[in-house]
């Protein structure tokens, strides 16, 4: 007779979700993990963040060394925007003591996917404390 205890439905669910979480993490690391710089395009990827509120989407990005008058936002697809900014000076990897890779960077560039419909023509931007902020009003959903 087998001594194997029958597992409850809750234990099976718990194991399923744990495995799903581990798989998602591996998938994320495999697809999203990449250097934060691209030496061919001479760009560095700044940190960015997105917050969705009931009325608007607020995107921010930390742009160290950015020249304010060169910061641009443009849509690159239906649901993705790109932030581009020239840096005040060229940054080389050897400025950070890195000598095993070569590269110099003078542009900050990142792409951000917007998860809801927004009216890009009505966006408002500001640059304060090195943080670039974009406010995109959400498109009105239909009333129920």
């Amino acid at each position: 007779m087998s001594n194997k205890r029958r597992r409850s439905i809750f234990e099976i669910f718990e194991e399923y979700f744990e495995n799903l979480e581990k798989w998602t993490e591996r998938f994320r690391e495999a697809l999203i993990e990449k250097p934060s710089w691209d030496h061919r395009a001479c760009t560095m990827e700044p940190l960015s963040n997105i917050m969705v509120t009931p009325t608007e989407v607020i995107v921010t990005s930390d742009l160290p060394y950015a020249e304010e008058n060169t910061i641009h936002v443009k849509p690159v697809s239906e649901d993705t925007i790109e932030i581009l900014a020239k840096m005040k000076r060229k940054i080389r990897l050897d400025d950070f003591g890195i000598t095993h890779y070569k590269g110099g960077f003078q542009t900050l560039r990142c792409q951000i996917r917007i998860p809801v419909s927004v009216d890009i023509d009505k966006m408002e931007v500001r640059f304060k404390r090195g943080i670039f902020e974009i406010r995109l009003p959400r498109k009105q959903e239909r009333d129920i």
């Binding site: 934060s36 560095m44 990827e45 700044p46 940190l47 963040n49 921010t60 930390d62 160290p64 060394y65 940054i91 950070f96 304060k128 404390r129 090195g130 943080i131 902020e133």
Partner: protein, 248 residues
């Protein structure tokens, strides 16, 4: 001391000092402040951590390997700093081992340096620094120095474990928390924290270089901040925004 975590001493370690902690957290406030203290006080590495609980990485300086978690010091300060985000499932043994080790060096007080995120950080000119302590006597010390007390709320991360462990083992401990960005390295917050630290310790720390190098620090710290964000999300750091349900 945990069997899974070892502290390897490289030099004679001073006794009877103050032990500071700067671990990756919101705004990297503690790490940036720690890095500035190491450079300002010319602290040298006195010990390092060896553990299979740490990620499989070493930090290379001048071609030589170093642990990502190291302890720097001089005659009266010990400073534990991590160059990598500590995952939530390893924080307990790592912090407990560091505190036990500090206790073996007869450390008089432990001080954790970190941040408290605020949503309108971009618009704040003067950053507030808050404090919490492991016992009423130590809390009185920070109050007498004019530092605002973080009266109610949740604390998540290495400093939470430090406070809890120090409270249970009756070690005087303080956590200093500067208002900061959640997601972005915040050298200004680190400078604000160091100003308050000088009041607690009665020492002088010049933060002008830290502020001057703000842009360089923000650029250098991007990758550590990115990895720290992933760990903060796993440890549910946003719980610090929650309104506490504490019935007295």
């Amino acid at each position: 001391m945990s069997k899974e975590v070892k502290i390897i001493e490289r030099k004679d370690v001073p006794h009877d000092g103050i032990m500071l902690f700067g671990f990756p957290d919101v705004g990297l406030v503690g790490v940036i402040a720690a890095s500035h203290l190491i450079s300002e006080f010319k602290l040298t590495e006195v010990a390092s951590m060896d553990s299979r609980l740490l990620p499989p990485l070493i930090v290379l300086h001048e071609g030589l390997p170093h642990s990502p978690v190291r302890i720097f010091g001089n005659h009266d300060i010990l400073l534990a700093v991590s160059e990598t985000a500590i995952s939530s499932d390893t924080i307990y043994p790592i912090m407990h081992t560091l505190i036990d080790w500090g206790t073996s060096k007869n450390v008089k007080m432990m001080i954790s340096m970190s941040g408290i995120p605020v949503q309108d950080r971009q618009d704040i000119e003067k950053l507030n620094v808050f404090a919490a302590a492991s016992n009423p006597e130590t809390l009185k010390v920070v109050q007498n120095k004019g530092i605002q007390v973080l009266k109610e709320g949740y604390m998540v991360g290495p400093q939470a474990i430090m406070m809890q462990y120090c409270a249970s083992t009756k070690i005087p401990a303080i956590t200093l928390l500067a208002q900061c960005f959640f997601n972005y390295p915040d050298p200004e917050a680190a400078a604000a924290l160091l100003k308050e630290l000088t009041r607690v310790l009665g020492i002088k720390v010049d933060v002008s270089k830290l502020l001057e190098k703000g842009e360089e620090i923000r650029l250098r710290a991007r990758d550590v901040m990115k990895r720290t964000r992933q760990e903060l999300s796993k440890m549910k750091k946003t719980q610090e925004y929650d309104i506490p349900l504490y019935v007295s």
